[in-house]
Amino acid sequence: MSDEQDVITGINAPVYLKYNFTAGAAPSRFLTQLKKGVLMGQRCPKCSAVYVPARGSCALCGVATEEDVQLSDKATVESFTIVSIPIPGNPIEPPFVVANLVLDGSNISLIHLLSECENSEVRIGQRVQGVWKPESEWDYSMNNIRYFKPIDEPDVPAEKIGKLPVTGWEG
């Protein structure tokens, strides 16, 4: 009866919202040290777990992590994946390795890249160390560490991952 109408399947309604984002008091302590090339964890006063990067609380206990604990840039691979597709913004050509790493002295893993390695040889328990950018490029960013690379230390058995002192792994 009527003229045929276009089927409307969508409209453009872009959203622009501006924020003055703040990381939080505890993350700011971490980032301030990171800019100086120091990896600083925070210890829970109740269960002694060391978090990095800390967000302000021990998620297990629900209390503030007030004590700062300086950590090593040596770490153990807790888990990993090999990425075979390009990820926008990532400078590393695929295939590359993304890993859960536990820094010596901390109990909670953080996620970073692994490189300078044979991807097929990456394994849980493997020892790695951060490869830092030149000091002049340091910022409030995890990018201060370009990636982690394997080091010549014996593997850490699964039950000891996440339990190493800041002094490192004796094997």
Partner: protein
Amino acid sequence: MKDIAIVAYQQSDSVSDAGAVNEVELIMPVLARTFEQAGLNSAQDVDFVCSGSCDYLQGAAFAFVSGVDALGAVPPIKESHVEMDAAWALYESILKIRMGHADSALIYGFGKSSPGELPVVLSQQLDPYYLAPLWVDSISLAALQARMMLDKGLITERDMAEVVSRSRRNAMNNPHAQLSGDISVDDVLAEETYLSPLRKADCSPISDGASAIIIATVEQARAWGLPYAVISGIDHCIETHNLGMRDLTDSVSTRMAANRAGMNTGKVDVAELYAPFSHQEIILARALGLDDSTQVNPSGGVLAGNLMMASGLSRVGEVFNRIVKGEAQRGIAHATSGPCLQHNLVTVLEKGENA
């Protein structure tokens, strides 16, 4: 059906800018004080946890998930969240207890509005096709409503200024208030208009903060040996998102919710109304039929500090405080959401039998 009681309530100071703290850091001190008030250690000591927040406020995706880090959720807890004021988290928790799935619950709400432009952020909760793309901000919509009230002769600017003056004076007794002072009606009227006919003083301030409540069955509250106030009724009703179809000079949904919650089965000694704008307090008081026998917003209400996603819950907490202090026998707490009082929740609180 088991009677449900409030046993603890705490609120942070309402501040214009909480600074560098993140959501966990905003919530944790309030939760610690709430647990202390109830004689509990952590969220492990209650059966259910429900929170209210909105990630759009601070512009941090999944901030509400991070908020759980403040709870001590290991071993796992039963937890839920509403992207609304935590007064609705209270509603969900009450349902949980009434269904027999819990005997106690922690409810908390938090909002950090300072990082964004709140009135603009709130424009994005409007109908996404016709209104949100126009970026009509929340203050402009409230101004349209106030203009309608004035033009119909339902209120005067002096009536609005009286609400502000009373809020500022009442807030002098509220240690968490952001805006308080001995401000006269003429002082308010001397201020220039901001978004006419609204003056800045007619609008609730931008605030950061959090609040929390613990509820439990009356049996549990007695077992804990805590003073309590009974929640005798709670309900909420919502109106259409199409502002043109609503009577903006009335709040039909508030009246319906209050009736369904049983407000009119007894005297109302105190009413804490979530009115983000001065004229809205008048709309709400009239919609509820409140007269001089009811003390309205003795805390100063949200004109004294508006913790988005927590202020509705705080209204409940303020009435609880007055009942357990013996200043009131019975009261109502109102919470609102959406533009121009679109969605309204009413809670009725009463003194416990042996409280």
